[in-house]
Symmetry: C2
Subunit: 637 residues, 2 copies
Amino acid sequence: MPRYRVQFSPLFKAVTVDAGTTLLEAAARAHIAIDSVCGGDGICGRCKMIVTEGKVGGNVSSLLTREEIRQGVVLACQTTVESDLIVDIPDETRASDKVVIDQDAQRFRAARPGIKKREFEKSPLVAKACLHLAPPTLDNNTADCQRIRTVIEKETGIFSMQTGLKIIRRMPEILRKNDFTITATIGRRGGVAEIMDLEGGDTSSENYMAIVDVGTSTVVVHLVDAVTMSTIDTQACFNSQATYGREVTTRMIAAEKRGTEHLQRVLVEDINELIGALAHRNEINLKDVNAVVCAGNTAMMHFLLGIPTENIRREPFIAVTVDPPAFRAAEVGVKVNPRGLLFPVPGIGGWVGGDITAGVLATGLHEMDDVGMMIDVGTNGEVVLGNRDWLMACSASAGPALEGAGVQCGMMAHRGAIERVFVEEDDIRYEVIGGGAPDGICGSGIIDLIAVLLERGIIDRSGKLVDGSDLRVRSKSGQGKFVLAGKSRSLNGREIALFQDDIDNVVTAKAAIFAAAKIMLERLNLTFSDIDKLFVAGGFGNYIDVRNAIAIGLFPDLPVSDIVYAGNTSIWGAKLAAFSSEARETLREISNRTTNYDLMATNDYVEQFRQAMFLPHTDIELFPSVARRAPANHEAR
Amino acid sequence: MPRYRVQFSPLFKAVTVDAGTTLLEAAARAHIAIDSVCGGDGICGRCKMIVTEGKVGGNVSSLLTREEIRQGVVLACQTTVESDLIVDIPDETRASDKVVIDQDAQRFRAARPGIKKREFEKSPLVAKACLHLAPPTLDNNTADCQRIRTVIEKETGIFSMQTGLKIIRRMPEILRKNDFTITATIGRRGGVAEIMDLEGGDTSSENYMAIVDVGTSTVVVHLVDAVTMSTIDTQACFNSQATYGREVTTRMIAAEKRGTEHLQRVLVEDINELIGALAHRNEINLKDVNAVVCAGNTAMMHFLLGIPTENIRREPFIAVTVDPPAFRAAEVGVKVNPRGLLFPVPGIGGWVGGDITAGVLATGLHEMDDVGMMIDVGTNGEVVLGNRDWLMACSASAGPALEGAGVQCGMMAHRGAIERVFVEEDDIRYEVIGGGAPDGICGSGIIDLIAVLLERGIIDRSGKLVDGSDLRVRSKSGQGKFVLAGKSRSLNGREIALFQDDIDNVVTAKAAIFAAAKIMLERLNLTFSDIDKLFVAGGFGNYIDVRNAIAIGLFPDLPVSDIVYAGNTSIWGAKLAAFSSEARETLREISNRTTNYDLMATNDYVEQFRQAMFLPHTDIELFPSVARRAPANHEAR
């Protein structure tokens, strides 16, 4: 395939790309941040560029005026490179220096209407600045370190910098070998800045960060470009700590018996593999990954940092820290730049962690005028209730079923996963991520399937498979199962089925979460009807069928338009933290002002949980829309 | 010897001491800071206490009123313990929370009239706070780390603290093993505070710091109590780097050839030995020494921190850093608390270091209305000129003669050193520090001796011994010498004599310093008569005879009352830095606003130096008082 050089003006940046590459992609490779809200779908019309020399391909967008087309204006995302090019990027096309929540919006398009657009000042955790220093003379005899700092202060506005001895010792050589042109890597850490690294020449465009969602069942990493603030690539895996137990509590017991360092090592290896794979795939040097931002529940963060967890699982459930300072990633064994920083997103309490603080930031719950609720569906299900005046959070142990991990044919929401199940022509059908044959079923597919089974009477309201209700209900080793895809239709020749145990796990999970939400409301003398907006967070799929989630009683029975699926808000909030100290400050503020409500402190929880162990609930009055849809099937037991 | 218990009220502190101990000393042992300006000489009358029970000895001071004596008021420094006691300490007797320069005044009494009394807010580099925490409950479920920090913030007013992972990991155990009563060690470092250590129970009275003057020829350490801000003990030694050369430049060459780490190791060993000896002698645990404040010339600080010095000795004479941040002492091998801090006093340029900044702070040169000058007499002689509006500094290589190190029978100014030489009954006599037989001669004695020899015609104006001028002028291996004390009169049976080479070294030293001072004045279109106050710093004795220093041309010919001998201002300023962040800020301000003037940048220096190689100077007009005293002896050559 021919390769062409694209020269962008007035930035003097150039890049060589394959023929057919879009201009948007070429700009990203040249580390130019472009203001694209739709993420390259050609619908927002923001990525306007002017081709001044060379030949391009692609569609002429209807979003351009006749005059624009005459001037050579194109939409970068709809225009391909077909020769060497010179391309003008108008000022308004370049992304502003604001960190906008919408940047990730293409992944959560379905959710966007419910989320306010907010902007934060850009100030990445780690920034790079190319410095051109005047060589010293008898009349300009400032010391090397002070010479460097003065220029950094002028270029970045950052004062009061710390500098490690090792960096100071290297200063004279690096300055003099590079004609006093160097690039400083500057990290922000605990209220002060730090010169983390010095490199010869201009390396300021090579600056990356890893954003990590440390979940009990899954670990997700987004590799981001710190210059353009764009996400380069993502990768996820199951948390290998599962060897020590699927539940957080069993892992804590394991940590007490064998030492926290075992659980730490396993988790750090997962993170290293993910970051390593992303860096390799995108031809990025690990030493240019300068920061790692981690959000996770409190226990996971303790494991990651090697902090004892024994008091988290014992009344009164006390964490060692919910707001660990930024450390050097190397201190815990995370392999990036040896002096790179690890920033843990601050959490709220022993069972409500930084993933939830990040979620509140990402959804904007903390800024709402009316009452909002956020449910984070994970191995622990967390519920946050509140608005701009008050916030309250709790956590319930749900098990990993809704993340696809406590389910025999479960898998994460990536290529090959059944992510939707629906009835069409009176048949139960499914949709696979990426198309093709299925390899398993992810959280959103499981919710759909159970709702469909319930609606068709294949399972009863207690979630039990009804013998003889459908040909696909079979039995294996004394356990019932529903076969969704036979061996011949699956990717790997393994039958894809939902077992009775799987269904029981899902019912337990949704009951735990629903009971938690209900208890919190009661505690504040509120009911579900007081909720203005429900944000649902969790990594169980790109799309969740809200009606089905209501049908099985996972979500409360609110108008569908009031329920917003926000995706992995843990990553989303952590990413804002990576790019903006204003966002980091807001996270800390959310962490400080959220009341940590312990379900164990109430006597009602067990009873509420028991009542929620039905589909959708023992008290069908709580689900009027469900009762209306299929009244025959919904007699209380 | 009987021992008695002294109970101090209203502080509830008690201590057991030997009979005959003064109350001032007993209070110091109980870590109670007392406002004593005279340092225990009974002349300031500030250390008033009331003996309410028990028997005391000592003199009744004339500084007490009849009424006070009737009430049992005593001066603590003049009163000894002769039984178990209960002693009331009035509020006004306790030292205020201000750091007063005068605290060290007893060592520099002669100087006091010339130095303004200034106060700084107390905020030691490292403070200890005993914390009584409420144990957690379900309703008070704050995490351990945040629980500790909240109380620290309340107790100390320090916010935004960093905490190391190792400390965080230990928190749950230390809290629960000590019923939630712990002592936090809090260090201030680069604009933020840090929880350096946590100990069980109340250890807040055990907090010490080492103040180090890192000189080219001598290393001096003061061990200070961080609670009472008093100096416990002092110790000094010659800098063992002398093996690599007496001059800074030869050591830099050695560092380039053999590696900076060699020079670092030797220096760190000296410091460790001094701190170790002081801790041992005063029964202090090294782990309770939480900070080391170091002031020294720029090259010495580079050696200490293992930073390359090669550009300091080559035009344009550039240091790597003149303001290194605070490090962990362990990073350079200084053995105190493993997490203890090392704070280098900021310097000015490649040849003007933190010892000079400290000196300016200590003397108050930076606050003067009129023009002041400070001369620091050391192996490098530094001259600072300025006032509240401007400051300018330069450095001249003088050699170690005036510190007693470049002189055959030279020694430091401690017990056994001849510190004064004078003529009495037409005979040359001397005074020995501590009395008894002499072991050598220190800087102040050398200056006196040369002045006396010059006055009596035993040396001529070029500093050459005149054969036959005195019976004590002899010759050894072809070199002339003046014998001050024969073998039978010295402590170790070694003759104490001044050799021709020694005299030449002194003449070179004083010429270098005087020429530097003269050049700086000329550069600013000033003359010596514009100087309102001359501060003389340096560790060459407890007392320096200003007239003799003028007579040999070391000091300019100013009225004696305008010359203030300020002692080791490097230690003095560093001590202020140890106790007050306001002082640390002022040091940084002095460092920033002082122009570093390089003598090598002027063509005049060599000529000025040559002219100053006479006693007192080629141009006798510069020394009118000397010319008046002994006109006959002062013909220009």
